[in-house]
Symmetry: C2
Subunit: 328 residues, 2 copies
Amino acid sequence: MAVRAGVGRGTVSRVINGSPRVSEQARAAVQEAIAELGYVPNRVARSLVTSRTDAVALVIPEPQTRLFAEPYFSDIVRGVSAELAGTDMQLLLTLVRTSHERQRLAQYLSAHRVDGVLMVSVHQDDPLPDLLKRIEMPAVLSGRRSGPEPVSHVDSDNVGGARLAVRHLVEVRGSRAVATITGPPDMDVARCRLDGYRQAIADSGHEPDERLVAHADFTEEGGREAMRRLLVRRPDVDAVFAASDVMASGALRILRESGRSVPDDVALIGFDDSVVARHTDPPLTSVRQPTEEMGRTMARLLLEEMATPGRDHRRMVLPTELVRRRSA
Amino acid sequence: MAVRAGVGRGTVSRVINGSPRVSEQARAAVQEAIAELGYVPNRVARSLVTSRTDAVALVIPEPQTRLFAEPYFSDIVRGVSAELAGTDMQLLLTLVRTSHERQRLAQYLSAHRVDGVLMVSVHQDDPLPDLLKRIEMPAVLSGRRSGPEPVSHVDSDNVGGARLAVRHLVEVRGSRAVATITGPPDMDVARCRLDGYRQAIADSGHEPDERLVAHADFTEEGGREAMRRLLVRRPDVDAVFAASDVMASGALRILRESGRSVPDDVALIGFDDSVVARHTDPPLTSVRQPTEEMGRTMARLLLEEMATPGRDHRRMVLPTELVRRRSA
DNA sequence: TTGAAAGCGCTAACAG
DNA sequence: CTGTTAGCGCTTTCAA
């Protein structure tokens, strides 16, 4: 290769890496040689000397649920992948099931086997973000554990979205006893959506009532159970804001089973814009968060951070919107 | 490291790679040194010399649809990931959107940047399997293009599953005019499910009628359109076998809009065991294919093939089963 | 600006 | 069985 272009190995390398310290003449010669020989640099050899891997990991903690089947993860993956397609960065998918796998992951990251990390669905007690900070590995979370994080993260406006939804139930549908089925208290996203609910209730002038608040775990089963509890505690409930579409679907089923016609008796609203919301019949009104855009933003942020070592971490909040699929 | 154990570099390497040509004594010394120094071998350096990458790519062609949101892909990913977790093979996720990206992928694979390839959702005209065969890269497909493939693949028993479903409609529900909404003819999976439908109709002794067959594209919109066509062509249709759950959901909506009550007037059956099938109300009876198991099998097959260069490719067919979620 | 040379950390071939 | 040696293909000083 160096011979073919009539220059030294060093010069070839400089051309490929776009160094400015190369004469036009040499650059042209090398580029011609590249074209003729169909030369493709060996990334592994490069990695060995640069100690970069040109790969980022997307970490998805995966408990018992089929979480991954939800559009949230798919959309994140799509967004990340789309953003990375323009670079020659590889996307490693890392599902973490067991605590053993968590430890292996920690080792893996500590060994700097990737250049950066994206994480979704972080729980309160997750030590990974701190580890990432400590080993100074560029990282971006979607969501956060609570309060300030040591690494960058992108979030959607959960509080605002929840307020939008609950206000819709109160003002447009005229509901008077709006309940909420929210997520586990150890997830910031659940707390925020609950906050939004409470704010909207306060704004409406209705009486807040803790019996109208049910915690669940973002699964359909959880949604069903929560709905049953709500019906016992406040049989007069006439609207439900569920903090996820799957829970909304579960609630819907219970309402139907209990003989209540939806939406005549009860208004139901989910959070995500999802398969479930769309395929439930009638489709649920819901709050859409721009999930794919969140994925793209995460990737962009990560790339920037990888290019600018030591840069301060950022927090980005993307807007949410109400999607009405049926008339009130 | 070699010094610490009081042996040569070569011996260290042999111990790490589990070579049998090492004395117990030396092995113990090295392992102790490893433990004390917390030594972790550098994979990149190893890759450079072995020219293996310890990574496999999962290729997902992704057209305009939100395909990835369907449980099929998620379950495949879960299965593959679970199987790979035991090895130290990395999983690269490769979504292919544009033809430009397809070409980049072809280059990428030709450059042997991964040790093996898993592919899902292959279409008739996909050249990738042939490329993989040509460059002798271990590869496993889920499904096939049509007839024999040059590489290994795992499939579910689509013909049998479709027969099961249609027989259920005919025998248990007593339907007389069973229609089918099937996938695009350029996908083997669609042709097989259509075959199964035809066989079951033939078995039942009912008159086959091409007006009862509608092709669609595995999307909900496609399912709706197909259902509309069917209602025009054979208003007496009293059962539908849809070759995917999403299409079944679309068909369901049209049936409801047309004032027909399901399941009183009409029986509907989907193919996959999915979020949609479960959340549709009432839940659809459906045919379940063991998707996660398919993912695991794909990964296992690939690992075997990587370990045994030159091995003949295999075809595996996994059974399907009928899942009844409501009484007839 | 550029060629030459020195490794990056590992494995594999080769003598012992 | 084991120590030594020679690279894998690239980037990066370091002189020129």
